[in-house]
Amino acid sequence: MTPKLGAYAGLAAVALFAALATRRPELVVVAAPFALVAALGLLLARRPSIDAEVELGVERTIEGDEVDVRLTLVADVGAERVEALLQLPRQLVVLGGDNPLQLRLADGERRELRYRLQCARWGAFRVGHVYLRTHDWFGFFQRELVVDRRVPLKVYPSEENVRNLLQPLETQVFAGNHVARQKGEGIEFADLRPFVPGDRIRHVNWRASARRGELWINEHHAERNADVVILLDSFAEARRGDRSTLDPALRAAGTLAARYLRQKDRVGFVTFGGILNWLLPTTGAVQLYRIVDAMLDTQIVLSYAWRDVVTVPRRTLPPQALVLALTPLLDDRSESALLDLRGRGFDLVVIEISPLSLLPRPTGDAGDLADRLLRLRREAVRGRFERAGIPVAVWGDETSLAAALEEVSAYRRRARAASV
């Protein structure tokens, strides 16, 4: 019941008694509409019965894409005015359709409201909390209903544009797209050697054989797959408003996982932080979905517990795997764990998600000093990694992931040339 009913009843009562006191019929006329409307409103009052259904156009989509949502309202007992609000997480932005909307629902009527949402940020959402507020004809009664018809919507991070992937130093035994150092069946030419019984005729190098007067055989590099483990540092993040270092890290993880899986590599995923999560390396499209679903659950959980790589199950980090660590380099524990991994002989690459653009602009001498100290500290961490033979690529607002990966590739080429 709204205060309007009390106000109208009060106005009618005061006017009626004033009419009696002053013996003026005009005041009865003034009181009449308020009294009649109040009485009619009370007589016609009833409890609306409205149900809602929510249907999504898709259950899975990519960050930045649009999704159609259909909200169906079914009224057994309708109402003169119904305000319908589909509660949405702030990551889903309404592009089309009015939310909330005030409409009329007659008895037995069924109405469909359509919305077009833009998925502004990745995440696993549940859409379908519907708030309904009904009003009667006269605005005397207002009722609120909450209908929970939530359905899951998974928004995957968008992919970064990456042209060339990092080549692992070591390959595994299964067929893949990497040219292995070992010789075997493949396309890439490796060497020439004299013919031995059992060699296939199609491997004979006829030019070399003609020059040397005996049969010589082409040898090839085998084409193998590799194990790649994407290690996401979730100890800490830098956040400013809607932007966080976790978002680009997850986009990079998704992109790299998809690209490596496409070239038949086994890909594993480890979230290393307050909560430890892992997926054993394996191949195939299903693994990509597993990784992306695991990514959607990733969050930064504050923890003071010390963690090192011993806590990661052994099978998650197979020997000779390429470990791609995505880290904002904000926590000493992740730094220590990465150095430990390198010490255990893993082919480790660190992609630093730079948090500097998320930091507030330094003000005053103390601010400048703090900023310089932070940058120096980060430089020192990078130096420690490089001394341990870990390539570090910085990925920030100024550079693309592709450029960061190229930087690592160049580092690894130079390092190899130097070691020869």
Partner: protein, 157 residues
């Protein structure tokens, strides 16, 4: 609308125009204040004061019944309805049909008010008066208020 009503009462008043104007102006100001600050509790008091200015006008009036009372009642009711409509704190966009029905309902209610008011005035001026009619009037007023109170207590849905 309320301002027009106050202006009519003040201009048409032959006795105590300052009181009529003062009460009406206070009512109008209170309504405006309630609308500006979205203070729903204050709004009916503004309506009541505007109505009171008309009540003072008719109470001190010499002579016959005010023939414009149905129009005044319709205007006061429409002002109250429009005021409450303004005070609704809804961020929702209303469908065109909803707004149309609401406006039509308001216009219809104002028209019915004017018609019923004319009928009441016609009956009142035709009646000869007396103790019986006075008692019936008191009883009608009491019953009206009691019925509204009873319905309100029943409609606690």
């Amino acid at each position: 609308m309320a301002a027009g009503l106050v202006a009519y009462s003040d201009v048409a008043s032959d006795r105590l125009p300052a009181v009529v104007g003062g009460v009406g102006t206070a009512g109008g100001a209170l309504m405006a204040f309630a609308l500006a600050t979205r203070w729903r509790t204050v709004f009916p008091f503004g309506i009541a004061l505007v109505g009171a200015s008309y009540a003072v006008f008719v109470a001190v009036r010499n002579g016959a019944v005010d023939g414009r009372a149905p129009a005044v009642a319709a205007a006061l009711f429409a002002a109250a309805e429009l005021g409450y409509w303004s005070l609704e704190r809804s961020p929702s966009r209303s469908e065109g049909a909803v707004v149309l029905r609401r406006v039509a309902g308001l216009v219809g209610a104002a028209a019915v008010t004017a018609l019923l008011g004319s009928l009441v005035l016609l009956l009142a001026t035709g009646a000869s008066g007396g103790v019986g009619l006075e008692a019936a009037g008191v009883a009608a007023a009491v019953i009206s208020v009691a019925v509204i109170a009873r319905l309100a207590s029943r409609a606690s849905v």
